[in-house]
């Protein structure tokens, strides 16, 4: 195929999901569940095919190509276009998004079918796929953008879709608005991050005069030499955006609450794609970060600290999805630390493998949850929380396919060789050892904890005896649900082939866009250490959690660690601290502005004007007394005034 023709296909990665969305919007409800689900999955699937074509074309033309579509803004010296950048970095993201996205769409057909059966509203089914397609379209805009402004459109778009999808069951949740609150929290926290990104973009425009990536990055060195402070500000504000979107300290608090959304949403948005947008941003702007070592260090420490912090919380969680949520935050910390250290390739590699195994883990968790719900049968949902791991146990016998898939994902996440996670995590640890040994220690501890809590989760959910009637009666999910699990499991096992030490396929592929950078090296010592830590973690988990307990379930660590475990259980009270420090003063301030200022002062100004006009009108009214002679008098008065004025001039 001609490379020119292939490259011109790139707008279709955005248009195809939009067409799917349009079809579902207009006629989806009429043709039923199957039609809506298949249309949406087909749209994303075709987008994946297009991405493959682009990748093949790019192989022969690796420098990358810009495909402009239309001019958007032309004001003075600013020209912003809708243009698609097809280069090795963006194609990697496109493949991940559309590939994993297609699998998740197929899974959702089966998963959301249960939701419709419970609630009996087919319109909801269609709405779900409309939002999912919208998300894919926005994400594609984000990764294929050729300038910061277009990327920001995609950035905001995915934030919006995240809000829509988290609050999908908007009438459920705590007190009937819990889900809506979670969605709001996600949107607002992201907003704070977006503010940082916007400031960075403003600074870029002021100092570079353009938004386009190629123009900006080619001028980067010159501007950094002339105004180093500006470059530092740009990178730090961009970091604020990254902490919002990719859930790092301090703005990660939305992601655990976002588990209120349906599990496919958690898999797609909050594991595989949206949260990686921040990592992509830093990767794309690696030219900036390379010029400001201080910013690189800050990014690295933010990532490392987040990785450790989130891992400790994950150890104490009982909800199956919350464990995975904190695990995501922790793994994102790994990725952010990697791009902060300068080994962007390692970060991108981990991004891809994480998409595989975290997506797999979430989808399997969804399968587990629905299995338990099926086990509950006609009982109301109120008494047993289907997501509580303390009510599970022994599910490996009742849900075998899910179990094996979950096992593959868990081992990959823990970093057991030769699964995918081992290679990607090991690259990050290796470069940490080179660049900053202190960060290496932090990340290594986080890796140990990762293995530990995954072992804990495996034991609590799949091994031992079922701890509730629902778990006893759980059943395996349908094939529509389990097939994507199998595909992802295969990818998780074999995904390491992307960047095997020695071959470094991915590194060479990305070097065309990112430059040479720090080559990641394979150190047997580091690899051995990380493997040992992972095995140790899993075995500890197996040991501690395989004991049987009588009576109500008490976590074995509670006795061992005491108050430390209470902190982990309660996520170190971060939300409560934020409420006291930030939210309550702000609410008080808003209350103050609403009542005395708005009602008292500003409304009175308007009211006062009205009253004043009325007083004036009533005064003037008295001149209309009906007597013609007094009117004549007024006329004469006017005449005298004019004559006097003319006379005196």
């Amino acid at each position: 195929m001609e490379s020119g023709l292939s490259f011109n296909l790139v707008p279709w990665v955005v248009f195809l999901p939009l067409i799917g969305l349009g079809i579902n919007l207009l006629v989806g409800r009429k043709f039923g569940e199957r039609f809506a689900g298949i249309t949406a999955s087909l749209a994303v699937g075709l987008a994946f095919v297009v991405s493959v074509f682009l990748a093949v074309a790019l192989a022969g033309h690796p420098e990358g190509v810009t495909v402009p579509l239309v001019d958007w803004i032309t004001i003075g010296s600013l020209t912003v276009r809708w243009a698609f950048r097809v280069d090795t970095l963006s194609v990697v993201m496109m493949l991940v998004v559309s590939g994993v996205g297609t699998l998740i769409h197929v899974y959702s057909i089966g998963y959301m079918h249960n939701d419709v059966r419970h609630n009996g509203d087919e319109g909801r089914f269609t709405r779900f796929f409309i939002f999912m397609n919208l998300f894919i379209a926005a994400m594609m805009i984000l990764v294929s953008a050729d300038n910061f402004l277009m990327m920001f459109v995609g950035w905001e778009g995915v934030g919006l879709c995240s809000y829509l999808l988290i609050g999908f069951w908007f009438e459920k949740g705590k007190d009937g608005i819990g889900n809506a609150n979670a969605a709001k929290k996600a949107f607002i926290t992201n907003r704070i991050g977006d503010f940082g990104l916007l400031i960075a973009m403003f600074l870029i425009f002021v100092n570079f005069g353009t938004f386009q990536f190629d123009e900006v990055f080619s001028q980067a060195a010159a501007v950094a030499a002339a105004k180093p402070g500006v470059m530092l500000l740009i990178t730090l504000f961009m970091l604020l955006g990254v902490t919002g979107k990719s859930a790092q300290l301090p703005l990660y608090v939305w992601l655990p609450d976002a588990m209120a959304g349906p599990t496919p949403v958690s898999a797609l948005i909050h594991a595989a794609t949206m949260v990686t947008a921040g990592v992509y941003l830093v990767a794309r702007s690696s030219a900036f970060y390379a010029l400001v070592p201080v910013a690189q260090t800050v990014v690295m420490w933010v990532g490392a600290a987040t990785a450790l912090f989130a891992a400790t919380i994950a150890v104490g969680q009982y909800d199956i999805k919350k464990v995975l949520a904190y695990s995501t935050i922790s793994q994102l910390g790994f990725m952010v630390a990697a791009v902060g250290m300068g080994t962007t390739v390692a970060g991108m590699f981990h991004l891809v493998t994480h998409a595989f195994f975290k997506g797999l883990l979430f989808l399997s968790a969804g399968s587990v949850i629905q299995g338990v719900e099926r086990g509950m049968g006609h009982h109301s949902h109120g008494d047993v929380d289907p997501q509580d791991m303390r009510q599970m146990g022994g599910l490996r016998k009742r849900m075998p396919v899910t179990f094996w898939a979950y096992l593959a994902g868990a081992l990959a996440l823990s970093g057991i060789a030769p699964l995918a996670g081992f290679f990607s995590k090991d690259e990050i640890l290796a470069s940490a050892w080179h660049v900053h040994p202190a960060a290496f220690i932090v990340l290594a501890v986080a890796a140990f904890l990762t293995a530990f809590y995954m072992g804990r989760q495996l034991m609590m959910v799949f091994f031992g005896e079922p701890r509730s009637e629902a778990a006893q009666k759980a059943s395996e999910s349908s094939r529509v649900v389990t097939t994507p699990l199998i595909v992802l499991a295969v990818l998780s096992v074999l995904g390491g082939a992307l960047n095997l030490p020695g071959l470094h396929t991915l590194e060479h592929w990305l070097a065309h866009t990112l430059g040479e950078g720090n080559p990641a090296q394979f150190l047997w010592s580091v690899a051995g250490t990380s493997l040992a830590l992972a095995l140790l973690g899993i075995s500890l988990g197996w040991l501690i959690y395989s004991k049987k307990s009588d009576g109500p379930y008490v976590d074995p660590l509670k006795k061992a660690l005491g108050p430390l475990f209470t902190g982990m259980e309660n996520k170190w009270w971060v939300d409560e601290i934020y409420a006291v420090i930030v939210l309550n003063p702000y609410k008080a301030f808003a209350q103050f502005m609403a009542e005395p200022v708005d009602l008292g002062l500003i409304d009175r100004i308007g009211g006062g004007l009205a009253a004043g006009t009325r007083v004036l009108a009533e005064g003037l009214r008295k001149t209309e007394n009906g007597y013609i002679r007094s009117y004549g008098l007024w006329m004469l008065l006017g005449l005298v005034a004019i004559m006097t004025w003319l006379f005196l001039r």
């Binding site: 007394n625 005298v640 006379f647």
Partner: protein
């Protein structure tokens, strides 16, 4: 002191006296008659200034037609003596003050701005001739002429319509 000046002064005094009589007289018919005297005096002044056609027009139209109409209406409606109570306070003093102001300013302006030596000229044959007036009226001022004819038509119709007795049931 030329003869013209003397004549003019005499006529002026008559005009002012008649005007004063108009506003001060309690009897409406007397006021109308005073106004006629005023018109006649002013017509004589026009003659002095050489506008003979206008002078005769003044007598015919104003004194002959308009004042006769006034007298008809006065007699039809009955001259009543309205209440002397002034209902709008300040009306009397304020009116006098303001009118005095106009008077003083006007006269003062005339005396200071207009040169005293400027005099009228004798009536030339051209200006007194109705022919000149007619030519100007039908050539230069033909549009206002047509419009005034429409005004007169409207006035005639209006006068008839306004005084029609209302018929029962037509709500005019």
């Amino acid at each position: 002191m030329t003869v013209n000046l003397l004549v003019f002064l005499f006529l002026g005094v008559v005009a002012i006296a008649a005007a004063a009589g108009l506003i001060l007289s309690r009897n409406t018919i007397y006021s109308a008659l005073f106004l006629i005297i005023n018109f006649l005096a002013v017509a004589a002044i026009y003659l002095v200034m050489g506008a003979s056609f206008i002078a005769l027009a003044q007598i015919t139209i104003y004194a002959g037609a308009i004042m006769v109409l006034f007298l008809f209406v006065i007699m039809m409606l009955g001259t009543e003596k309205p209440k002397e109570v002034e209902q709008i306070k300040w009306q009397r003093p304020l009116a006098i003050v303001l009118a005095a102001a106009v008077l003083i300013e006007g006269v003062y302006a005339l005396i200071t701005r207009v040169a005293l030596k400027v005099t009228t000229t004798a009536g030339t044959a051209a200006l007194s001739d109705p022919k000149t007036l007619g030519l100007s009226l039908y050539n230069k001022y033909s549009l206002p002429f047509e419009i005034t004819s429409v005004i007169l038509l409207v006035a005639a119709i209006g006068a008839v319509v306004l005084t029609q007795k209302t018929r029962k049931g037509s709500g005019q």
